[in-house]
Amino acid sequence: MLLSRLRELSAGLDERVPGRAGFRHWRRTRPFWGGVAVVLGGLIILMLPMAPLPVMIHVGMAAVSGVAIGLILITAGLFFWFAPAQRAFVAVVASICALVSVVTSNLGGGGIGALLALVGAAMAFGWRTVPPPPAPPDPGADTDLIPPTDHHDVTTPDDLGDVRASDDGGDVRAPDDGGDVGAPSGPGGVRTPDDRGDGGAPDHRETRPLPFLDAGPAGLRASAPPDAPAQGGAHRRVRWRSLLVTVPVAVAAGLVTAVAAHRPPPAEAAPAAVSTCVPVPGATRPWWIPEWLWLACPNPSTNPSASPPASASPTPPPPPTSAPAGGNTTGDPGPSAPASASASISASASASVSASPTMTAAPRMTNPGRITAIKYGENVPEVSADKLMATGFTFRGTVELPTDSGAVKALVFHADNLKADNYRILTGDPGPDLRLGIDLDIDDVDIYATHLGGLITVPYLDVPLLPVEITADLIPTWLPLNIWLPAFSGNGVKAGQVFIRAGTVRGSDLSAEVVGSHSHS
């Protein structure tokens, strides 16, 4: 009912849509839908790793083989459409490629690409121009031969070499592919079906009598007429070969792996600037701390430009001025100092010194060891933490760390344990920025920093004690060298972190995002 309606509809469309009948005929004269499935499968395998060529080379094996196999499958589909005569070979190749892609490329496009290609290739392989018989012959029935009997019905398997016919048939139906035929010796007139009687379904193909063959003994060669069973036999042999080819290739594909190498273009240098007072958000001076000791900016919110990335390039040490600047007792050199990006560390340091008589030149670290043998990033990342709590804190002096653009002088601290709340790192490299936030709990850590600033607090009590801004050139006189401090804590800590070496890092609440290039002001 529905089917007949569809047929009516289809016939109606044929009249109205020009070219539709032509397309249908074109479609029916080739394995069209098999081609569609193979092309779709190839597209899926191709799309997963598809990217510009340099990226695919980075990704390696899976990307390159995915694209290659995808292209092969698409080509196979086009062959099914435009060169259908070669469908058998192309279908076998497409099947092998689809199987290989399972191993080499994302499980063959997530399985679905390989499966589509396999089914499509098989559809094309099975496509044939002649409508198939209602019941195809049992393919397994022709493997063993039956000795000739006196039967009038003669067994003539259609695709094996030695075939014998009964000895009383005159009219012999020849086997299809030119095998040796044991010709019958008796009088003619016997029709011999090409399928064995005991095998399975009776053959409905019309049996065609051959011209009379000489009724001699066995051993006659009969040339085959190009009829349907002949094609079937030839194809069957192709199928067995395809099976033999498919298995080893698919297994061999499992041995293939790849490693990607990533080498992006080199970096460039970045500009830098420094702060002139210690930006501690929300810090107010307790009454018991003298003004001249209080280095925090009076209004940190008005001092946002004071924390651009620190300079990574070494600067000459500042003149050892220890006398306080006359009249400047507010401890606020920030606003009066030139805030341009060209302000050097020495200017900052001398400003700090002018505000505090407690700064001194930083001593060198003794026995820096192998850390000077490694190279470090030339753009020092800015790190910060809301709260810092260190136990077993030791200041070890300064060390010159080698980078591509010269040595960076860094303060060296060690802590047996360091806890940092909301530790953030902003890398200073040109190009992408890493913005990482994490709560850290680190055992056995060495910190190498170009500068360190913040509000020192009374450990465990969280009472503000002293705002400091120290650099690798100038440190407070009270900061003891190589003395093990049981506890050291600070709020709003910022540092230029050249390097951290840590034994064990426990982190929680990690969030890391890489964002596009920031603009260096």
């Binding site: 695919m56 083989s65 790849a258 190009g431 964002v515």
Partner: protein
């Protein structure tokens, strides 16, 4: 039907289809059992990875730029892990297939037995994690001097990180490309392809 028209004989198609499916089954079982190491490579589009736990030895990472199909550049952190073990992994990618539309590919695995991989390299642009422990950290090395993971070293002068071991829980990441040098999938592997957008998180 005209004389030169034809159709698919499924009986004949089975001669190719059945052995192919048999091999496909063998390969799939081999991969699922971890006997056969499959090669993965997704690139050019964003995909999401979620894992209940990640353990690894030899980690190296630096900042890089990834290029996607449309040629745009995306800032990423290129991270390599020498030996990785992941549990309860969900990976999802949304692929726009011509003529079909958006298809979500989701791979679930590592629930009964962990997935292990060697030389896993990924370009991630976001990473969120729960509690984790990292040992032997060196943060701030020049990216060109990274030596923990073969093939993972960046341009000179850049910020680089490497570490000895890592153990984290509840990792979520969005990435632009990933390549498991080899991945051993064990036991349960569930691949689903659905129309529309269905992601891990």
């Amino acid at each position: 039907m005209r004389a030169d028209e034809g159709r698919t004989s499924w009986g004949r198609a089975c001669w190719l289809l059945l052995p192919s499916l048999a091999v496909l089954g063998g390969v799939t079982v081999g991969i699922a059992e971890g006997a056969l190491a499959a090669s993965f490579g997704v690139s050019g589009q964003q995909f999401k990875v979620k894992a209940a736990s990640v353990e690894g030895t030899d980690i190296a990472a630096y900042l890089d730029t990834a290029q996607s199909v449309d040629g745009t550049h995306h800032p990423v952190m290129l991270a390599g892990v020498g030996q990785a073990t992941l549990r309860d992994v969900c990976t999802s990618a949304v692929v726009a297939v011509p003529m079909v539309g958006k298809i979500s590919l989701k791979v679930l695995g590592g629930r009964t037995e962990p997935i292990t991989g060697t030389n896993v390299v990924a370009d991630a642009d976001a990473l969120f994690g729960g509690d984790g422990v990292i040992t032997d950290v060196e943060a701030g090395r020049d990216a060109s001097t990274l030596d923990r993971v073969k093939g993972v070293s960046g341009p000179p002068g850049r910020f680089g990180v490497q570490a000895g071991t890592i153990r984290t829980a509840d990792v979520e990441s969005t990435a632009w490309s990933a390549n498991g040098g080899t991945l051993q999938l064990a036991g349960d592997l569930e691949v689903s392809v659905t129309a529309g957008v269905h992601e891990c998180f």
